[in-house]
C-alpha cells in the first residue's frame, strides 16, 4: 500500500489486469474534490508544493461554487503488496470525475459507463442526498461495484454509525463494510485505494478487435482545441492514425494521445481498458460528442458501443443584453461557449420589450444558471433572462402540430390539445416533513407514485411532476419548507396532456412579450395577479395613467393601474443645489438609457429584471409593506 510511481506501468503497455477504472459519486458539498485532492497526494502524482485546493476543478466557476461541471480522468499509480507472497504489484487507477447535478444525468451515465467501480461518498454528518441516490441507481444499473464511504469523519457532527447503517441498508452490505475516511486529514485514503484494487473488477476487452473507445467527456481548450476523454474498450488507439466518430462518420487525424496524471502526459497510445485523452484539432465539441464511439478509420469497427444520445434541451429562456449595443458581444460569447458545451442550443430572437437577444435551450436550471453566469463573467455582459419555460407540443384542430419554445409564440386559434413534459422526481427528506412536501407537490400538480423509509427518520418520496412546475422556483420552495433538509432529483418521464393557457401581460394595451407565460388554467389567475402586482410596484409613474392587465386571449383576468405622476420638480434650486441637481440629472440621463419603451410606457431595465427574477415577487411584496 504505497505509491510506486517509479515502477508504474506505462500507457499503451498496461495489461488490463492491473487497471482499475472507478468514479466517485457524491453530493455537491460532501467533499468529493477534497477527497480527490488527497488521492493525488497519497499516490504521489502531485507533490506538496504543487498542491492546491480542489486541484481537478479547473474552471473558476467550479471552484467558487464547489461544484464540478466537467469530468476529467486522472491516472494514479498504486502499489499493493501481496500478504501471502510479499511481492509488490503496480496497479493503475483511473479516477473518472463525474458531474454531480441532475441537469447532467446523461454525462453522468457516460462517465459511469467508462468505469467498473464507483466510490459512493456520503457526508458522515448529513447522510445521502437525492441526487446521489439517483447516481447510485445509475451506477448499480451499469453493474458497477460500489464501495461505500463516509467522508468528513473528522467533523464533530459526524454520525458514522447512523449513516453507515443507512448506506448498508441501501446497497445491501454490512455496516462494517462502509469505509470511514476524511478527505481533510487524509485518514482512510490509502485503505480506500487498496479496497479499489481489491474489489473493482479489471476491465475486459478484446485487444485484437478493431478499436472502440467511448467518449465520456469533451472539453474545449483555447490552445489545443477540443480535448476528448475516452475509455478504450477494444483494440488500441495510436498517435497519428486517422480516427472516425461513429455517429457522424466524421474522420479526424489523431494529433495527440495521452493520459492525465494529473497534467497531460503524451503517450504512445491507449490500450484495452485504458482511459486518456485525444486531440484532433477540431474546434467544436459538437464534432466530438459525449457518448459517441471512436474507432480507427482503417479496419474500423462496424458496430458502435451504443448508448449515444443527442443532448435535448429541456428548459428555454430568452437571454438579452441589458445594453442593446452588447448584442454582438453576446452572440460571440454564445458561439464561444458552444464550443465547449454540446448541449447548448440557441437562436436569435427579437422581443418588442427587450430588443435583440437569443432563445437559449438548456438541460435544466443549473445549466441555465451556469451558462448565464459564464456569459456575464467571461464576456463582461449584463443580461436579462426571461422566465424559463419548457417545450410544449400544441396540436391544432386541423391536426397541425406546433412545438412551442417561447410562450409569446403560443398559437392563437383552435387548439385541440397541449402536452407538456413531466418528470419523475425523487425527494429525500426527514420524515417530519412528509406533510409539507406533499402539500407543496400537490400545489405543483404532482402525483405521488410511492414512498419508502430509508431509515425511521428519513423518507424517499417519488412524484410525477410537470417539468414546468419544477423550473419555477420549486427547489427553493422545497428547501425553504424543509429548513434545507430535503434534496431533490428528477429525470424526464415523457409528456402529458394538460389544460394549459397562455397568460399575456399588457401595459396600456400593449402585450409585453417578455412576460407572457404558459401556465395551467387553474393557476392563470394567480400568475396574472402576481405579475400585475409586481409591475405596479416596479414601473415608475408616468405622465399618463398606465393600466396593467393580465389576459388570457382577450379576456382580462387581472388589472392594476399606475396613476399619472403630477409632480417631480425639486422645489429649491439655489446656489449650492445646482451642482447636486446637475449631477442627479447626469445620473438620470444614464438611467434613461436603461429604459425600454413598451408602446409609450418607459420601463426601467431594473423593473424587467425584478419582474422576471423568481424572487421578485417577494421583493415587490416587501416594497408594498
Amino acid at each position: 500500500m504505497s505509491p510506486i510511481a517509479q515502477t508504474a506501468p506505462q500507457p499503451a503497455a498496461t495489461p488490463p489486469e492491473v487497471i482499475r477504472n472507478f468514479c466517485i459519486i457524491a453530493h455537491i458539498d460532501h467533499g468529493k474534490s477534497t477527497l480527490a485532492d488527497r488521492m493525488l497526494q497519497v499516490t504521489g502524482v502531485v507533490g506538496e508544493r504543487q498542491m492546491r485546493a480542489q486541484y481537478l476543478d479547473r474552471m473558476d466557476i467550479e471552484r467558487e461554487r464547489g461544484i464540478t461541471i466537467k469530468s476529467q480522468a486522472v491516472r494514479l499509480p498504486w502499489g499493493v503488496t501481496d500478504p501471502a507472497t510479499g511481492s509488490d504489484t503496480a496497479y493503475v487507477l483511473n479516477m473518472i470525475d463525474t458531474p454531480g447535478h441532475v441537469d447532467f444525468t446523461y454525462e453522468v451515465s457516460r462517465s459511469l459507463a467508462a468505469c467498473e467501480g464507483a466510490v459512493l461518498v456520503v457526508d458522515a454528518a448529513q447522510g445521502i442526498e437525492a441526487q446521489t441516490l439517483a447516481n447510485l441507481y445509475l451506477a448499480m444499473e451499469n453493474d458497477l461495484t460500489i464501495i461505500p464511504v463516509l467522508n468528513k469523519i473528522d467533523l464533530p457532527a459526524a454520525q458514522p454509525d447512523r449513516y453507515a447503517e443507512e448506506l448498508a441498508g441501501l446497497i445491501g452490505c454490512d455496516p462494517e463494510d462502509v469505509l470511514l475516511v476524511s478527505g481533510k486529514t487524509g485518514e482512510g485514503v490509502p485503505e480506500l485505494l487498496d479496497r479499489i484494487v481489491d474489489e473493482v473488477p479489471a476491465p475486459v476487452g478484446d485487444a485484437d478487435a478493431p478499436a472502440r473507445a467511448m467518449i465520456f467527456d469533451s472539453v474545449y481548450d483555447t490552445y489545443r482545441g477540443v480535448v476528448t476523454y475516452v475509455r478504450v474498450v477494444d483494440g488500441a488507439l495510436r498517435p497519428r492514425e486517422r480516427i472516425q466518430m461513429m455517429s457522424t462518420r466524421a474522420v479526424h487525424e489523431l494529433l495527440e494521445i495521452g493520459v492525465i496524471s494529473p497534467e497531460p502526459v503524451v503517450s504512445r497510445g491507449l490500450g484495452v481498458g485504458e482511459v486518456g485523452y485525444l486531440i484532433t484539432g477540431v474546434k467544436d465539441v459538437r464534432q466530438s460528442r459525449v457518448g459517441d464511439t471512436v474507432t480507427s478509420e482503417r479496419h474500423g469497427a462496424t458496430t458502435s458501443l451504443g448508448g449515444y444520445k443527442d443532448p435535448r434541451p429541456m428548459v428555454f429562456s430568452g437571454l438579452y443584453p441589458i445594453d442593446g449595443s452588447d448584442y454582438p458581444t453576446l452572440r460571440d460569447a454564445l458561439d464561444k461557449l458552444k464550443l465547449n458545451d454540446a448541449a447548448l442550443v440557441y437562436e436569435p430572437e427579437t422581443s418588442a420589450a427587450l430588443g435583440f437577444g437569443f432563445r437559449v435551450g438548456f438541460l435544466g436550471m443549473l445549466h441555465l444558471e451556469i451558462v448565464r453566469e459564464r456569459l456575464e463573467r467571461e464576456s463582461n455582459l449584463d443580461l436579462i433572462s426571461t422566465l424559463p419555460n419548457v417545450v410544449y407540443e400544441v396540436r391544432m384542430d386541423d391536426g397541425k402540430e406546433i412545438e412551442v419554445t417561447n410562450p409569446s409564440e403560443f398559437p392563437g386559434g383552435r387548439v385541440a390539445s397541449i402536452t407538456e413534459p413531466v418528470v419523475r422526481a425523487t425527494i429525500l427528506a426527514p420524515s417530519d416533513f412528509i406533510g409539507t412536501i406533499m402539500e407543496l407537490c400537490q400545489s405543483r400538480r404532482g402525483t405521488l407514485r410511492g414512498m419508502d423509509y430509508l431509515s425511521p427518520e428519513r423518507v424517499e418520496m417519488r412524484y410525477t411532476l410537470p417539468l414546468a412546475e419544477i423550473v419555477f422556483d420549486f427547489f427553493d420552495a422545497l428547501k425553504s419548507r424543509t429548513k434545507g433538509y430535503a434534496s431533490l432529483d428528477y429525470e424526464p418521464d415523457g409528456q402529458q396532456e394538460s389544460d394549459l393557457v397562455k397568460v399575456d401581460i399588457l401595459l396600456q394595451g400593449d402585450t409585453v412579450d417578455a412576460f407572457s407565460a404558459v401556465v395551467h388554467r387553474d393557476k392563470a389567475y394567480a400568475y396574472g395577479v402576481m405579475m400585475v402586482g409586481k409591475l405596479r410596484e416596479l414601473i415608475p409613474r408616468q405622465q399618463f395613467e398606465v393600466p396593467i392587465q393580465a389576459a388570457i386571449g382577450s379576456r382580462v383576468i387581472a388589472r392594476e393601474t399606475i396613476r399619472a405622476i403630477r409632480k417631480d420638480v425639486t422645489a429649491k434650486c439655489y446656489g449650492g443645489d445646482i451642482s447636486r441637481k446637475r449631477k442627479l440629472l447626469e445620473k438620470q440621463k444614464e438611467g434613461k438609457k436603461r429604459m425600454k419603451m413598451v408602446g409609450t410606457v418607459e420601463v426601467p431595465q431594473e423593473a424587467f429584471i425584478a419582474a422576471l427574477s423568481q424572487d421578485g415577487g417577494a421583493a415587490a411584496e416587501k416594497a408594498k409593506k
Binding site: 420638480v569 422645489a571 445646482i578
Partner: protein
C-alpha cells in the same frame, strides 16, 4: 446636511483659471454670505448650520464669525484682482439664522463687500431672518446699514404644522416682524413650506391666507423635501411620520399658485411669486440666469465664469483656513461646455421668462411640440421662441428638462 459634491481640489490661494477670470464682467456679480448658526436645528433642515452647543467653543462661534467672513472677502478680492469685476448688484445673507449675529456684524460684512468691489446703485441686499428676531431696533439697524430686503421664515401659520417642522417661532411675531420691516422701508418676503406630514389642504389654505393678509412683497413656497440625514428622514424611515405625498404636494402647489395669482402675485420662478417685477429677488434670479457670485462663509458655494466651488463646512475649519491665509475652498469643478448647457436648460426653464428655444438642441426642440400638446409647455411662448412652463409643466419640470435634453439614441441592431 448634504455632503459636499465630489470635485477637484481647489487651489490654496483661491485663484481661478484665467478663462473664468476673463469672463468676469460679462455677467452680473453678486455676493452670498452664509451664516451657519441656529439656536435650535429644525427636524427637516439639511442646511449647513450649527447650534452653539454643537460648535463646542472652538473659537469659531458667533462672535468671531464676521472677522473670518471679512477675511474671505479680502481673499476673494485678491483672487479677482485684475478681472473686470463689476460693482456688486446683489448681496444675500442666508443661513442658518443670520439674525443670530449682532445686526452690526451683518452690516459690517456688507460694508466689507462694498469696500472690496463697490455696490451698484439700487443694489439689493437681503437677509433671511427668524420672525422672532426681527424687532423694530433690528430692522432699523439693518435698513440703516444698507439692507433693502428681509426674507422671513414663516413656514406655516398653523401651530401643529410648525410643531411637526420643529419651528419654535411664535406665529404672532410674523406680523410684528413684517410691520417692523415695513416701517423702515425694507421689502418683505415670506417663506412658506407645504406638504408637511399632517398638514391638510385647509391648513395650507390658512397659511396662504395669513401670509397674504400681511401683504408681503414676495412669497416663496417650497414643497417639503425629506433630505437624507435629517431627523425628519429618520422619522419617515422608522414610520413615525408619513412620507410627504407628491399628489398632495401637487394639490397644494396648485392651490398656492391660484391664490397667489388671485392676490396679484405672479410666479417668476417655480417656487417664487412677487407682487411686481421689481419685487422679485434679483439675487436668486442671478442663480437661475447663470450669473457670477462669490459665496462667503462655511459651506458656501460660488460660481464664477463656469467654475463652481464650495467651502469647507465646519466654521472652525473655515476660520482656521482663513487664519492661515489660505482659501477655505474644499473642492471645485470646472464645467465642460456640455455641463454648462445642461445647467442652462435646467435652470432656465424654472423661470417665467423661460429659456430661449435656440439654446435647446434639435432632439429636444422636436420634443417641445409634444410637450405643448401635453400641456407642459406654453404654446404661445414657444411660437415666440421661448420655452415657458405651464403650471402643470412647472410641477413636472424634471420631466420637461429630461425631454429638452434628450439625445437621439440609435437603436441596437444585430
Amino acid at each position: 446636511m448634504p455632503a459636499l459634491p465630489l470635485g477637484d481640489p481647489a487651489p490654496a490661494d483661491g485663484s481661478l483659471p484665467p478663462d473664468a477670470l476673463a469672463q468676469v464682467g460679462s455677467r452680473r456679480f453678486g455676493v452670498y454670505v452664509h451664516v451657519p448658526f441656529c439656536r435650535v436645528r429644525c427636524g427637516y433642515c439639511d442646511f449647513n448650520t450649527y447650534t452653539i452647543p454643537e460648535l463646542g467653543g472652538h473659537g469659531a462661534g458667533v462672535e468671531t464669525y464676521a472677522e473670518a467672513a471679512l477675511a474671505e472677502v479680502a481673499l476673494a478680492r485678491r483672487a479677482l484682482e485684475g478681472a473686470a469685476v463689476p460693482a456688486v448688484s446683489t448681496v444675500f445673507v442666508g443661513g442658518g439664522t443670520p439674525t443670530m449675529l449682532a445686526p452690526g456684524d451683518l452690516v459690517g460684512v456688507v460694508d466689507g463687500v462694498a469696500d472690496a468691489w463697490g455696490l451698484q446703485a439700487g443694489v439689493e441686499v437681503t437677509t433671511e431672518a427668524n420672525p422672532d428676531t426681527v424687532t423694530p431696533q433690528v430692522a432699523e439697524t439693518l435698513a440703516a446699514g444698507g439692507f433693502t430686503r428681509v426674507s422671513l421664515g414663516m413656514q406655516s401659520a398653523v401651530p401643529h404644522v410648525l410643531a411637526t417642522l420643529e419651528r419654535t417661532h411664535d406665529p404672532a411675531n410674523v406680523a410684528a416682524a413684517v410691520a417692523a420691516c415695513r416701517a423702515v422701508g425694507l421689502q418683505v418676503s415670506l417663506d412658506l413650506i407645504y406638504g408637511t406630514p399632517g398638514e391638510s389642504l385647509q391648513d395650507w389654505r390658512t397659511s396662504l391666507e395669513t401670509a397674504l393678509a400681511l401683504e408681503p412683497d414676495h412669497v416663496s413656497a417650497y414643497a417639503l423635501t425629506v433630505e437624507e440625514g435629517t431627523k425628519l428622514a429618520s422619522q419617515v424611515r422608522r414610520g413615525t411620520v408619513p412620507m410627504p405625498e407628491d399628489d398632495d404636494e401637487a394639490d397644494k402647489y396648485e392651490l398656492a399658485d391660484t391664490m397667489l395669482a388671485g392676490a396679484g402675485y405672479d410666479w417668476y420662478e417655480i417656487s417664487n411669486w412677487a407682487r411686481a417685477a421689481d419685487r422679485q429677488c434679483r439675487h436668486n434670479v442671478a442663480y437661475w440666469a447663470g450669473d457670477d457670485w462669490w459665496g462667503i462663509g462655511p459651506g458656501a458655494h460660488s460660481h464664477v465664469g463656469g467654475v463652481r466651488w464650495w467651502n469647507v463646512k465646519h466654521p472652525a475649519a473655515y476660520a482656521a483656513r482663513l487664519g492661515e491665509g489660505t482659501s477655505p475652498a474644499h473642492g471645485r469643478e470646472v464645467l465642460t461646455p456640455g455641463q454648462r448647457h445642461d445647467e442652462r436648460v435646467l435652470l432656465g426653464v424654472r423661470l417665467a421668462t423661460g429659456l430661449p428655444l435656440d439654446v435647446v438642441h434639435p432632439p429636444g426642440r422636436r420634443a417641445v411640440a409634444a410637450m405643448i400638446a401635453e400641456g407642459l409647455v406654453d404654446g404661445a411662448a414657444a411660437v415666440r421662441g421661448r420655452v415657458v412652463l405651464t403650471r402643470q409643466g412647472r410641477m413636472l419640470a424634471d420631466t420637461v428638462v429630461h425631454r429638452l435634453l434628450t439625445e437621439d439614441v440609435e437603436p441596437a441592431c444585430p
